[in-house]
Structure formats: structure tokens, C-alpha cells
């Protein structure tokens, strides 16, 4: 029996930051797009490669700000959470804040590798709130939907502070569900869609672009460099530039706060130059 390579990744850097000590999983996909190229005279299909492209997805933890022991950011480090100004931090079970980034292809005839350009960004939030018997909690979201007089109160600012990093996004409450389950708590599930202002920062916060997360949220159209080496010896190394297609921050009671990234390569992925 041969010993096989395990988690001995020796290099994993994105946008100048090393994720070696923080990533939980990663997947680099190198793929050719193909076009069906068999003649009508044949029943067999023929895949003709026409372009090359690559995607990189990974999930990371975060170290708490200033921690000398590399303590990880957990949901307990969320110090504020509000939708439309209502504090829901004591009543929320779980939630996922996602960013999605649309791309259009920027490669010409001469290019083998895809050159996707980010052309739009959108945010959404999915969450489940409990309902305290004294009222409030998830009921506040139902009240927004029940208001017979106006649509305007469905506009709601999403605001969350985690480990001192404030995230603030103007959004629209587009769905509220009351879930009633046998022998379970009543839950209000909600879905919020992004509502970009006509001018100014979007998201409202953060505005800095120091970390990979901030770069993805604020300036997703700027490609980030990445380097990956699967193992120091007998491994493979890769480098290139990437732009995000999605990011998801997962918050769940009693768990680490995870960030899931999906990127697509801009241009060639190549072995790291020695």
C-alpha cells in the first residue's frame, strides 16, 4: 500500500493573505468548455474543447481580532444584529448573508482562457427568528408584510457587527414565512434582497478594502492574485488571478462563523514560476 497525500497543503494565498491556518476546504477546478462536434452521419457524440476556465471555491474561519491564541470568530462575536432597526440578536437561530456577483466574458478570439469581468453585485439574507411570548422577535418582520397601507416599510437596513467589523446593507424584505412544526418552536423565516442606493457606497459598510472579504464586498471587479501549492514535494503549484462569483457568511448559534467563497479565474492558471 502506498501512503497518499493528505492535508499537507504548503501554500494557499489569496489577495496577499495566507489561508493556510484558516481554510477548512478548498477545491480548484480546471475545466475545458466543449462543443458537440460530431457529424449528423454518426450517432456517437464528440466533445471538441473550445476554451479553458478555472474556478476556486473554499471555506474559511477567521481569527478573532487581536487574539494571541488564534481564537476563532464564533457567532458569539456577533455583537449586534438588526433588520430595519429592530435588534434581533437574542432571537435569531441562524442566518446566511450572501453576495452574488455576475460576470460577463471578456476574452476575445485569441484567448484560450476565459477572462470573466464582474458586471453586477447583489446581496441577500436568509434567516430564522424565534418568537418570544412577550412579542417582538420575528413578529416584527411579519408586521412589515401585514401593513395594509404601504409597501415602503419593506425597505429595511440589514446591520450586523461581527468581531468589530460592521456590515450594513440596504435591503428589501421580500418574503416572510411563519413555520409551525410539531413539537418545535415557532419560527419566522425571512428572505431579504439587496436594494442598492442610486448613489454612494454599496454596501454602506464596510467601505475599507483591506481584507479579502472587504475586497470581495466592495470592489469585486478587481481581480485578486492567488497561489496554491498542494504539497511541498510531489505536489502541484498553481497561480493566477480570480474574481468572486459568490460569498456567503454563515451564522448559526453555537458555531464558528464560516465564510464560503467562490471565485472564477481571470485568464490563465499556471504553475508558480520558480
Amino acid at each position: 500500500m502506498l501512503r497518499q497525500i493528505t492535508g499537507e497543503v504548503s501554500l494557499f494565498a489569496v489577495g496577499g493573505g495566507s489561508y493556510l491556518g484558516l481554510f477548512k476546504n478548498a477545491r480548484l477546478t480546471l475545466a475545458a468548455a466543449t462543443q458537440e462536434a460530431s457529424p449528423a452521419s454518426r450517432i456517437g457524440k464528440k466533445a471538441q474543447p473550445v476554451t479553458k476556465g478555472s474556478t476556486l471555491t473554499f471555506s474559511v474561519m477567521s481569527n478573532k481580532s487581536g487574539s494571541s491564541t488564534a481564537a476563532r470568530v464564533t457567532v458569539k462575536d456577533v455583537t449586534s444584529f438588526a433588520i430595519g432597526g429592530t435588534d434581533l440578536r437574542g432571537h435569531v437561530q441562524e442566518g446566511t448573508l450572501s453576495g452574488r456577483f455576475g460576470t460577463k466574458e471578456g476574452a476575445g478570439w485569441a484567448d484560450v482562457w476565459d477572462y470573466p469581468n464582474v458586471t453586477d453585485k447583489d446581496f441577500e439574507f436568509d434567516g430564522s427568528m424565534m418568537i418570544p411570548i412577550a412579542g417582538g422577535g420575528g413578529l416584527v418582520l411579519i408586521d412589515k408584510m401585514l401593513d395594509p397601507a404601504t409597501l415602503d416599510d419593506l425597505a429595511a437596513t440589514f446591520a450586523l457587527t461581527v468581531d468589530g467589523i460592521a456590515i450594513q446593507i440596504p435591503m428589501t424584505v421580500d418574503r416572510v414565512e411563519l413555520g409551525l412544526q410539531d413539537k418545535d418552536l415557532q419560527l419566522v423565516s425571512t428572505h431579504l434582497m439587496g436594494a442598492s442606493p442610486d448613489t454612494g457606497a454599496y454596501p454602506t459598510l464596510p467601505t475599507a478594502t483591506g481584507t479579502v472579504l472587504e475586497k470581495v464586498l466592495v470592489t469585486p471587479y478587481n481581480p485578486l492574485a492567488f497561489q496554491l501549492q498542494s504539497r511541498a514535494t510531489y505536489g502541484k503549484s498553481f497561480e493566477g488571478e480570480i474574481v468572486p462569483t459568490s460569498v456567503a457568511m454563515r451564522f448559526r448559534r453555537g458555531e464558528l462563523v464560516m465564510i464560503d467563497y467562490s471565485f472564477v479565474a481571470v485568464g490563465a492558471v499556471a504553475p508558480i514560476a520558480a
Binding site: 501554500l11 493573505g17 491556518g21 481580532s65 502541484k236 503549484s237 520558480a274
Partner: protein
Amino acid sequence: MSEDIKDRGKKTKAVTRQSGFGAAPIVDKAVKPQADKKAPEPEKEDTKNEQA
């Protein structure tokens, strides 16, 4: 007082956070990995078997 003296001590460089939510330690220098090593060539016996 010149602008330089007045602003001394006030200027702070934009520092990329190395810890905190969404941050990752900075890669100090361009990392040069070892050259990718190829797996050993298969033994010649294998070739013989294929030809047989």
C-alpha cells in the same frame, strides 16, 4: 508651521488587518515553492507486459 511638521504623527498608513473577521495573515514575501517534482517513471517491466 509647515504642513509636514503640522501633520507629523497624524499620518497613519492604511494597514491591512491580519486578524479579525474576514482577515488573513499577510504573505510577507513572494513565496517561491520548490519545483514540482514528477512521480518516478514506471518500471520497464510494465512496458513489456503491455507489448506482450
